[in-house]
Symmetry: D3
Subunit: 132 residues, 6 copies
Amino acid sequence: MTFTVTVRDHMMIAHSLAGESFGPAQQLHGATFVVDASFAATDLDADGVVVDIGRVTAALAEITGSLTYRNLDEDPRFAGRNTTTEVLCKVIADRLAEQVTSGALAPGQQFQSITVTLHESHIAWASYTRAP
Amino acid sequence: MTFTVTVRDHMMIAHSLAGESFGPAQQLHGATFVVDASFAATDLDADGVVVDIGRVTAALAEITGSLTYRNLDEDPRFAGRNTTTEVLCKVIADRLAEQVTSGALAPGQQFQSITVTLHESHIAWASYTRAP
Amino acid sequence: MTFTVTVRDHMMIAHSLAGESFGPAQQLHGATFVVDASFAATDLDADGVVVDIGRVTAALAEITGSLTYRNLDEDPRFAGRNTTTEVLCKVIADRLAEQVTSGALAPGQQFQSITVTLHESHIAWASYTRAP
Amino acid sequence: MTFTVTVRDHMMIAHSLAGESFGPAQQLHGATFVVDASFAATDLDADGVVVDIGRVTAALAEITGSLTYRNLDEDPRFAGRNTTTEVLCKVIADRLAEQVTSGALAPGQQFQSITVTLHESHIAWASYTRAP
Amino acid sequence: MTFTVTVRDHMMIAHSLAGESFGPAQQLHGATFVVDASFAATDLDADGVVVDIGRVTAALAEITGSLTYRNLDEDPRFAGRNTTTEVLCKVIADRLAEQVTSGALAPGQQFQSITVTLHESHIAWASYTRAP
Amino acid sequence: MTFTVTVRDHMMIAHSLAGESFGPAQQLHGATFVVDASFAATDLDADGVVVDIGRVTAALAEITGSLTYRNLDEDPRFAGRNTTTEVLCKVIADRLAEQVTSGALAPGQQFQSITVTLHESHIAWASYTRAP
């Protein structure tokens, strides 16, 4: 028995990817990532929701806002790391999990998992699921 | 090893949500819910399907038909309860499960789970997964 | 030769529709309208855009914000009128046109037309196109 | 902790389905299947990906290329079997798994599962998930 | 000043296409066509709609119902003609126009045009627009 | 009376936009553009199509291939110009028109117009329509 709630946002970044297998994506290019953040829980809270959708939307917007309109190659947070779609899923999921742990996001709610999906185009996407 | 089959329908309802965290959604407003009902099973039946898609479509349409074009605030089935997206997912999944249990939907098939997802907009959706 | 730019928002309203042809939609129900506002122009401005996308997004959000989370049956702006999908397209397009006329939205730009599309479900939508 | 990556392709086939429950689909008809192939893994490789997206895209295209623009009723690979959406999900997932096992697709990567989803229309889809 | 209303349905057909430029599509294969039927008018009727959405949905369903689950190569209505996506758009639009002309669909309404769009996959679609 | 056919592709680019109104988009960032190229004609050719979909797909892929995985700020083709979504629509439409004029794309076919739409996210897109 699992409930989930998911909200969508997006971000538009430049980056390059190191590694021969990336072919032309080794060059500086960019992506729009349509970002879906999903929270799973066994039970609903007293209001009948997994988590307040307004708070989740704001939390996700703060995270995408710290990434969007940037060249991730020059962002010290990603020094020495490829900012692949998969890696960025984990970055966003980890930050959401921090807000859960700190009680900022949904005090009192016990989540089963957090999933973040990034759509890089109409034909490719990635996701990362973790414990909260 | 899991097979799933999913069918989509929709319903258009009015409601209000009690609780300060809902902000303006405490007012009477409404929603189109695009409803996805998903059935999971380990094995296919003799015809090579999880469940007859015509029967599932009809079963889902009967349930959405009992909810659509209504003000859920005045529906005795929901007295004293918030009809959040999550709650409505459970309502629909539970009714589908009843039809499975009664043998009306897919006699002989053993399902692993039933999942119902309600899309309330292009940027928010919820789901509920349960045993059949 | 025509350029267009389109932005998307949404609103969630309750209403009923008067007239036998509406069948069960004569009852109080609701809808999520996914709203696309589109501006057409022959030429781009000095920045290379039809209209500043930030301003258009804000203008549309202000309009949808004045409609969402409401029961339109009790809104004096719609007294005696059906708030069909088509009518609401016109309401939103007319307000956008007012902002163009007043110079609030895109001073100096000559638009060919404004189109507003409202998606009421995954299987039905309506639009309204007018001169600016 | 699970990462996934998914790529999309499509195929356009003719077939008929044996069994009274299929109704008019017992006649020769056809379908466009939009095909999503998804790979799940606990860890990313040294490049920061679940699997090289170029290789996965090519592997999927080879499989859909062997099925598309055909009448599956006359394909000896499916003699005596219904080519339902569910069955075709399994056929494609099994072929992807063979490429994983042979080391052709992602040598060194340990997958948790492979999921193939086929969308037969805007209102119906099926999937199959298996160990790699 | 133009209002439009659009409804969506689908059909699943087998066919082959004669002509070298079609390459492998010269073989018997199939397609799911997601069908959008759109009606444009300058004015709304007394109820505030372009056309009764229930009637349009029923009219479209009758037409797609006469085409779906068939092998169009054996349909005498298409003898000697390629049933390309474009041709099928015209077939459906022409039948909708007949219903307008006969007064069956929207007696009293003056349409500007009828447009039918067929999506043959997530990456290709066609449309046909005609006077009513 | 107009037929259209549309094909979809995508490209992933880095760029920055000069002009105060762009706000944070003045920084180097990026975008996935999902690209729809549409051709309109009054009549179908002898095969029953607006234009050979294989040729159009190849023509579009060649153009997106010359733009994708690049930093457009360093591309001499765009020196001194903002590569806004609108501008890129025109660039792609103009190149498609050149191929029509040269007879490379659809010798003998008379097009009414070419439209190119670029989707920069799930909530914003632009288009450009021109004579062929």
